[in-house]
């Protein structure tokens, strides 16, 4: 598939006095994709977005929008639009005037403005709210106005800075699906900044995980979740068990890691790792199995149940191996029963096992 790039960042660095907010960042965002910048607060994701919007200029490096150099072009001359976290609606204008502002700046004719504003407001289901003031709308409605105000300009790229952050959980879930639907409908490239990993997984075509100004990994939601390339990504996205140890057989398809107390764990590695290297094994709790008798085929480890938390869909167990390694095991409650004996009890013995394909051996 041939894809063109909507936004390219090359070796972009942004310094504020002594603080490096963004550190030699390379990104290639494709035309029409829903791309998320994910990371904890202060990781540089918002600064990156602001550099693409033109509110900040990079200290060094280049930014291309649709193939054109833009890193020194001010915001008002770039063909991108932003949806702000605080919505930033003009309080002295009506909803319709807010949405019309960008078109007015482009000197679109009065009748065209009227039509396009009406169309944009209907698209976000606020067709009858044009005459109201932003203050008279709820948070979710203001968010929709902000979205309409940006989309009405038909930008090449839409930038969204944690736009759902101020909404309550239920509304946020609805808006996530709504946003994804809108993005597919209009076919505009969305660059979405968030610290909420679930939100990023739900909506994105691709996700870039950032930490301390650096890019850690770029990939599809499944790549990021199933094949994190470092401990930070594995930890930030979803839950994971981490066991540290030393590589003793890095040559086989499934390498072997000595984690002490005579326990050898098997896992998958993406690149060859030299024997003797300190490594971390990351394995998601839902990939672990706890069984009463030793399972056939795969390797297994005797374990004691320490804690049982029943949360309806799952039962979340904490087990310890010999030598004190603790692991979280999530078991889906696929059976329907009220019989307590059907569930694990604290203190019971069992065997933990997993498919070595699901245990990732990480160097960083």
């Amino acid at each position: 598939m041939i894809t063109t790039s909507a936004v390219v960042l090359q070796q972009v660095t942004k310094r504020f006095q002594q603080v490096i907010a963004v550190d030699t960042l390379d990104l290639d965002i494709r035309d029409g994709e829903f791309f998320s910048l994910l990371g904890p607060s202060g990781c540089g994701k918002t600064t990156t977005l602001r550099m693409i919007a033109g509110f900040e200029f990079p200290t060094t490096g280049s930014i291309y929008l649709g193939g054109e150099h833009v890193e020194r072009i001010p915001a008002h001359q770039r063909n991108v639009n932003t949806v702000f976290q605080s919505y930033a609606l003009f309080p002295h204008m009506t909803v319709a005037e807010n949405v019309a502002f960008g078109l007015e700046m482009k000197k679109v004719s009065k009748t065209d403005i009227k039509n396009r504003v009406g169309e944009a407001l209907r698209m976000v289901q606020l067709g009858d709210y044009g005459h109201r003031r932003p203050k008279q709308l709820s948070g979710g409605q203001q968010q929709r106005v902000a979205l309409a105000r940006a989309l009405v300009n038909r930008p090449k790229v839409l930038l969204l800075d944690e736009p759902l952050g101020a909404l309550d959980l239920k509304l946020r879930k609805e808006m996530q699906i709504e946003l994804k639907r809108l993005q597919q409908e209009v076919g505009i490239t969305f660059i979405y900044v968030t610290h909420d990993q679930e939100e990023a997984l739900t909506m994105s075509d691709r996700i870039a995980v950032m930490s301390s100004g650096k890019l850690l990994q770029v990939g599809s939601p499944t790549e990021i979740y199933e094949r994190p390339n470092c401990r930070f990504v594995a930890d930030f996205i979803g839950e994971a068990n981490f066991v540290t140890g030393t590589m003793i057989d890095g040559a086989s398809t499934h390498c072997a890691v000595d984690v002490g107390n005579g326990i050898i764990l098997k896992g998958l590695h993406q690149e060859p790792i030299a024997n003797g290297t300190a490594v971390t094994i990351a394995v998601r709790p839902e990939k672990l199995r706890l069984s009463v008798s030793p399972p056939d085929g795969s390797s297994y480890y005797p374990a004691t149940v320490e804690q049982v938390v029943y949360i309806g869909s799952d039962t979340r167990l904490t087990v310890t191996l010999v030598g004190g390694i603790t692991l979280d095991v999530w078991e889906q409650n696929s059976r329907s029963t009220l019989d307590r004996d059907a569930y694990w009890q604290r203190g019971e013995q069992g065997y933990v096992s997993w498919n070595p394909d699901n245990a990732l051996v990480l160097v960083k």
């Binding site: 008002h76 991108v80 930033a88 003009f90 502002f101």
Partner: protein
């Protein structure tokens, strides 16, 4: 249980009532203290007694006479003109200054900040003498260089009024800029507005209540000012407060009370107007 809470409330309530009465009386006394002289002034602008100290009957005579007094009317006209020009110049300069001080970080900003408030704090007589000294000094230099003799007139008054009104405008406008959401300007830029359009379409409309408040304050201050006007007006021009002062030295007539009442009414109107504008903006 119920009895206990009721009796408790009654005791507290009684104490509350006593406290309220004392507070209420205090408030009334304060207002009487503040406004009794003004009430007397207004009252005696309507007395028939030509010395304006006894009540001998109601008349509009003094107001009629006032409007026929061309000297007084010209002074009033001058004062309004000074106040108007001062307001426009001080408001424009003060607003720009406030934006610069609030938005930009530059060398010496802290010092400038302090200097800006000085005209508010220093005694007016000091400011007046300083302005007088400044004008005669610079007029002297201009005369020695160009041979042109300058005299103080209505424009020196306007310049002096602008000089002290700017500080007040800056204070009021800065207050309205403090709560200004900078994202709104970014949002406007994002939608394609250049810096000039952003100022006219977004920034100025949003700080307008502050600007109007500052303008009304400047107008009132200029209108009421006596000391600085007295020192900087020069011999040829007449201003209302100075004219009133000149006449009072001879005799207090109800005509003086009448003009004072009119100035009072104008000032109060302006204050109510500024309150109204601020309140509407806060809504």
């Amino acid at each position: 249980m119920i009895d206990f809470s009721v009796s408790n409330r009654t005791v507290g309530g009684e104490r509350h009532t006593v406290g309220r009465r004392v507070l209420g009386a205090h408030a009334w006394l304060t207002y009487i203290f503040l406004y009794a002289p003004i009430v007397v002034l207004v009252l005696f602008s309507f007395t028939k007694d030509s010395f304006g100290v006894r009540w001998t009957g109601f008349t509009f005579d003094w107001y009629v006479r006032l409007f026929n007094d061309t000297r007084m009317m010209r002074a009033a006209g001058n004062t309004l003109w000074v106040a108007l020009v001062t307001t426009i110049v001080a408001t424009v300069m003060g607003t720009l200054m406030a934006i610069a001080m609030e938005r930009y970080r530059f060398r010496g900003r802290g010092g400038l900040d302090a200097l800006l408030y000085l005209p508010i704090v220093i005694p007016e007589i000091v400011m007046a003498l300083a302005l007088l000294a400044f004008f005669s000094f610079s007029f002297g230099i201009i005369e020695s260089i160009t041979g042109v003799t300058l005299r103080m007139n209505i424009w020196t008054v306007i310049m002096s009024h602008v000089a002290f009104c700017i500080s007040f405008v800056v204070v009021v406008v800065r207050a309205s800029l403090k709560g200004f959401d900078m994202r709104l300007e970014e949002a406007a830029a994002d939608l394609g507005a250049d810096p000039r359009t952003i100022f006219w379409r977004v920034t100025l409309p949003l700080i307008m209540p502050g600007v109007i408040g500052g303008a009304l304050l400047a107008f009132t201050l200029s209108l009421d000012d006596f000391i600085i006007s007295f020192f900087t007006v020069g011999p040829g021009t007449n201003l209302l407060p100075v004219e009133v002062y000149g006449r009072v030295k001879r005799a207090v007539t109800p005509a003086i009370n009448a003009i004072s009442t009119l100035m009072l009414v104008l000032s109060m109107l302006l204050i109510f107007l500024s309150q109204f504008v601020q309140r509407r903006a806060n809504r």
